[in-house]
Symmetry: C2
Subunit: 300 residues, 2 copies
């Protein structure tokens, strides 16, 4: 399973980066290969200063070795070996009418003393963070998520949409990071599903990513905008930073387990503003966004 | 003691904000009074878009009530009432040759069922974050810190300087946030010191602040700079954000105990950049700064 999923994310990284370069039309991804001292490594691909993308990364990694202490505590085991691989992406477009997107699909295995798999699972999801909200874009993004889920189980979409809304919640601001999408974790073998069926589901979701995001980018990337739109985008990017550094489990896990800092923090936006006590004008588009982020809604 | 210290920080806020307005020459502090639902409140003063200061805040607060859960856990008590007051300031100058400064001086009391003081202590400190390092500025800042400490005990400066270097350490970057200063906490009544003597020490430190910082601002505020210097300042401000959101106990405490978000996050810089894997040119001034931040040194 691990070879199969790693091959999948290797190919998916190629597919996604090629398509993004085509859409951007100017910038190319720069690749960094890195190794992890304790075992494994990754292939980081970063795009900067494009026509469309101000900054973004599409990274894969496969790491293994002894379970780090934070995971031993979390899983309540004394010791053990693990393998983990996944693809993570974040894209910060220049145009404030194009939303930021984040996605991650991953696979995890834990072993006993003799090297047998004790437990294995998939996790991941994708979510959209608009600065100006076009309802039709939110509906498109969620519809693609739903269609991909529905091929496997009609209960998946509502369930994983809800988990996503709960996860990407900036508790200290009482608002959502964006308009959500999907989030799932610990998809293990059960009476109902084989691990191969879990693989089929997660790869279905991963392969639906470009369809969920690219049409939105193409529709909005040439919209004209003013400095005030860009300022608003940069202020909202501040909330993105706050979520990632204060609440995001993946980021904090990476920072506290000696992960490759530059690959983890490629998720942070290129230029960010913090203004004291900024409040948009009442009934403005900016104000409408805040109201929607205050209580997640259904888009499909 | 609490009235005495609160009166002190009230006056100190006035003294500091007047002097900063004089040095800035353009912007004035805007004041926000706020109340805490559970008891107490604060007086937030923020300056933005000045001649010298791009963004800054000098805030006082005095809060009281039942101990929040995180403090009950930290102090290992089942229940209790507390009082806490303090002054916090952060100043982000426009000119990249002027360092950012942070300071905080505070007082805490805890009570038993009958309202008697169980324990009381002072804490605080000040530290400097340059973007371009002038050794003479670092020496000036630390000399003022040392002189203020030495009036009370010659062991204080080396001790609190070391604690400061350890505290403002960005573990995930393996580098200091800046060139340090002083950091002290839990300064209680002991056989050696009465609580009044602790008060005298902390207020001595607070009152030395303007002398430690203003001469540096005046010396550097009119230095001419290029876009590349400003870019470097904004990239380094990113490290400041990382420290405050990932590691700073005060910030995280505020975010997790329902503090006033805008007063807590006024510490974040106005404009920040994150570039992927940015490395300054070897032997440049930027490179020299990084080398010094990698291992704290003695400045006096």
């Amino acid at each position: 399973m691990k070879e199969q999923f790693y091959k999948y994310i290797e190919n998916l990284q190629d597919t996604i980066t090629s398509k993004l370069e085509e859409v951007d039309g100017l910038a190319k991804f720069e690749e960094d290969l890195w190794r992890r001292k304790e075992g494994g490594g990754g292939r980081t691909r970063v795009i900067e200063n494009g026509n469309v993308f101000e900054k973004g990364g599409v990274n894969i990694s496969a790491v293994h070795g002894e379970l780090p202490e934070v995971l031993r505590k979390q899983f309540k085991v004394k010791e053990g070996n693990f393998f983990a691989c996944g693809l993570s992406l974040v894209l910060h477009p220049i145009n404030p009418f194009v939303p930021t997107v984040h996605a991650n699909w991953r696979y995890f295995e834990m072993y006993d003393d003799t090297g047998n798999i004790v437990t294995q699972w998939f996790g991941g999801g994708q979510d959209l963070t608009p600065y100006y909200l076009f309802d039709e874009d939110a509906t498109h993004f969620h519809s693609v998520c739903k269609s991909a889920c529905d091929k496997h189980n009609p209960e998946f979409y509502p369930k994983f949409k809800k988990v996503c809304d709960e996860y990407f919640w900036n508790t200290h601001r009482e608002e959502a990071r964006g308009i959500g999408g999907l989030f799932f974790d610990y998809l293990k073998e059960t009476d109902e599903y084989t691990i191969k069926e879990r693989f089929n589901f997660v790869t279905e979701i991963g392969s639906s990513f470009l369809e969920s995001y690219i049409p939105i980018v193409n529709k909005r990337k040439n919209s004209s905008f003013l400095k005030e739109h860009k300022d608003w985008q940069e202020i909202r990017r501040g909330r993105y930073v706050e979520f990632n550094l204060v609440h995001d489990r993946g980021t904090l896990f990476g920072l506290k387990t000696n992960g490759r800092i530059e690959s983890i923090l490629m998720s942070l936006p290129p230029i960010v503003q913090w203004k004291y006590n900024h409040q948009p004008k009442e009934n403005s588009e900016e104000d409408r966004l805040l109201k929607i982020l205050a209580s997640p809604k259904d888009w499909v």
